[in-house]
């Protein structure tokens, strides 16, 4: 104990660690009306952490070669001790991350937390959601199954609808005219190196924005006090708020445990929910499976391409929708955050969710 105290004192006298920890934990005050939805950020961080861990373990045995990739995944699943567990955790967790990212985004939208001065927090968060989707897309190809091969073929093919540069774009994404060894190589590099590094940087920036602006109040209940927007930088202080540690971290920990319980439940009892039959067959470029469909989070995009008479129009609509969401804080500039006082927003919000779910279901059953 004495040695521990000496070590802490030694560090403290040089770096002021105790003060720093107090500032960031016990002394960091959150609004009194903070709710469970705010814990989704911590859940996403925990799930991404798990993805890093399981991803590294998979990386030890996975071979990024079109001739060996499927066999290496089969080996991981059947011969490597607990390999099945790490792979299923990785697969199921990737889907839960998308669910958590979507819920996080929807809760932020509902509470109007994206509004000034938190535009950068929103944009970095929205970019993180898209990065999560790219993670999934690139990871999808790696097992080199029929599903991997054809889903990637369909996904990259859509880029061909972009006028003028479409053909070049498809070739750039695939590393050649069709999905092959070059595609696997570049998707692998993106999945295990480029995207994780970019993700870490962007998560850091997102957290910096959150910490710098201060946590926004939930726009409900007796504790809510509207904050007037300011032209100069102001950190939203909550002097009468609750300490981040241990008061709110205990709640975050609880929500993380529940999320992990869902993850383990699906991993042990129903991993096939996220592994269609075509994912169990090695890739064969000469055999097109019937009814190849993208994962659930891309179904809306897949169906949008089919609804419109031309793929370009479908892509343009998707691009417009995504741009609108990215720039939402600049479009919806009113200071009001209470959902009950924003009927137009609330209507668009609910219709938007219904549209997303409806088009996805249409895509699934079409």
């Amino acid at each position: 104990m004495k040695i521990k105290k000496m070590a802490i004192d030694w560090l403290d006298s040089r770096l002021g660690v105790s003060e720093l920890l107090h500032q960031q934990l016990g002394g960091y005050k959150l609004p009194r009306n903070i709710n469970t939805w705010y814990a989704l950020g911590a859940v996403i961080m925990a799930l991404f952490g798990l993805q890093f861990l399981t991803g590294i373990l998979l990386l030890i045995y996975y071979v990024p070669d079109t001739e060996k990739a499927f066999a290496s995944v089969t080996m991981i699943m059947n011969e490597v001790p607990f390999g099945w567990l790490f792979r299923y955790l990785h697969v199921v967790c990737s889907n839960l991350i998308i669910v958590a990212l979507l819920l996080h985004m929807m809760s932020v939208m509902f509470m109007g937390s994206y509004k000034r001065p938190r535009e950068l927090t929103w944009i970095s968060g929205f970019t993180l959601l898209n990065m999560g989707l790219v993670f999934c897309l690139t990871g999808y190809l790696l097992p080199w199954s029929q599903l991997s091969f054809w889903a990637t073929t369909v996904a990259t093919d859509a880029a061909g609808a972009v006028p003028v540069v479409g053909e070049y774009l498809v070739s750039f994404l695939r590393g050649g005219p069709s999905v092959g060894a070059a595609t696997l190589g570049r998707f692998f590099a993106l999945h295990v190196l480029v995207l994780p590094l970019a993700l870490m940087g962007l998560v850091g920036f997102h957290l910096f924005c959150v910490r710098r602006n201060g946590i926004s109040q939930a726009p409900f209940g007796k504790h809510y006090r509207p904050v007037e927007p300011s032209d100069t930088f102001t950190h939203e202080e909550h002097h009468d708020g609750i300490p981040f540690y241990p008061n709110y971290t205990s709640k975050e920990l609880g929500v993380i445990f529940f999320a992990l319980a869902i993850l383990v439940l699906i991993t042990f009892y129903a991993p096939w929910l996220f592994i269609p039959l075509d994912a169990l067959v090695p890739a064969d470029p000469f055999v097109t499976p019937d009814h190849i469909k993208p994962e659930w989070y891309f179904l809306w995009a897949y169906q949008t391409l089919k609804i419109f008479p031309s793929e370009f129009l479908g892509l343009a609509v998707q691009g417009a929708a995504m741009t609108f969401l990215a720039l939402l804080p600049f479009v919806d500039r009113g200071p009001e955050r209470r959902p009950g006082k924003r009927p137009l927003f609330l209507t668009c919000y609910l219709l938007g969710i219904l549209l997303f779910v409806g088009i996805s279901l249409w895509g699934h059953y079409s």
Binding site: R32, T74, M77, P246, N247, S250, F257, L265, L280, F286
Partner: protein, 267 residues
């Protein structure tokens, strides 16, 4: 050993050449648009086990499935429709073992005198997955009494049921990511050998040899059972982890609740 090898060879051949060739060939394109006798086989074939396994028109009838003009040219190997007595040899190009045992059977020996060929029991273009239900009073009594056929069915029923049950078990294991290549190969081989045997329609021979198949299936069943046990253990452990995580979540929320009470008291 030979049986296993033969089974593997058939499996490899099916996997290698099957699905790749079941494309929309010129045969299907042209005959699909025709009425009556010339068009009917397309619809029938589409529902068949052959179509499901990627066996297309040209695999049986020959010809060039990629060239409209030469599709039915003998120069490109077109055979056309076999004569009644040629059918066993026609089907037997792929189903070698079955052909061999059929030819030695009462059915095969009676072929020249109008005895049944393959399509009498199995159908031609709409050939469905073979099952024990093909032996039934309605069909067998088209030619003879049902008594002997019923005896054959009685002898093979139990083994067939085991085969079907193991098929389902192996498919379930495959569905959860278990590598069943070896098990499927063994099962495929055993099933083919068994089905070959009962084409002899010889009750005595079936009774003598059935136990060897039952023993092979018991061995496969034991392997399947072992894997299923491992999966059950996994689920048990998974269930325990889920309960522990839920409990940990509840404890964390209870701790949060104590802080919440303190916060409200301090207001």
């Amino acid at each position: 050993m030979n049986r296993l090898f033969l089974g593997w060879m058939i499996l490899v051949l099916l996997l290698w050449c099957g699905p790749a060739l079941a494309q929309d060939t010129v045969c299907v394109q042209c005959h699909g648009g025709l009425d009556g006798r010339l068009g009917a086989p397309v619809g029938q074939w589409e529902k068949s086990i052959h179509a499901a396994n990627g066996i297309s028109c040209h695999d049986c009838h020959g010809g060039d499935p990629s060239d409209f003009a030469m599709a039915m040219s003998p120069e490109r190997g077109f055979i056309g429709v076999p004569g009644y007595e040629e059918v066993p040899a026609f089907c037997g190009r792929c189903h070698l073992g079955v052909r061999e045992d059929y030819e030695k059977s009462a059915h095969g020996e009676a072929l020249a005198n109008g005895g049944p060929n393959c399509v009498i029991c199995h159908g031609n273009h709409e050939v469905v997955k073979a099952s024990i239900d093909l032996i039934n009073e309605q069909d067998c009594t088209r030619c003879h009494d049902y008594e002997r056929a019923a005896e054959v069915k009685g002898v093979i029923a139990e083994t067939e049921a085991k085969l079907q049950s193991l098929d389902l078990s192996v498919a379930s294991l495959h569905r959860v990511g278990i590598d069943v290549e070896r098990l499927s190969g063994e099962l495929f081989s055993t099933r083919n050998q068994f089905r070959r045997l009962f084409h002899t329609v010889n009750v005595e021979k079936l009774q003598q040899q059935r136990s060897a198949f039952d023993s092979d299936l018991a061995e496969i069943g034991a392997q399947v059972g072992e894997i299923e046990n491992q999966l059950s253990q996994r689920k048990l452990i998974g269930g325990i982890i889920v309960v522990l995580l839920v409990l940990a979540g509840c404890v964390a929320l209870l701790i949060r609740q104590t802080y919440h009470s303190e916060e409200e008291a301090g207001e």
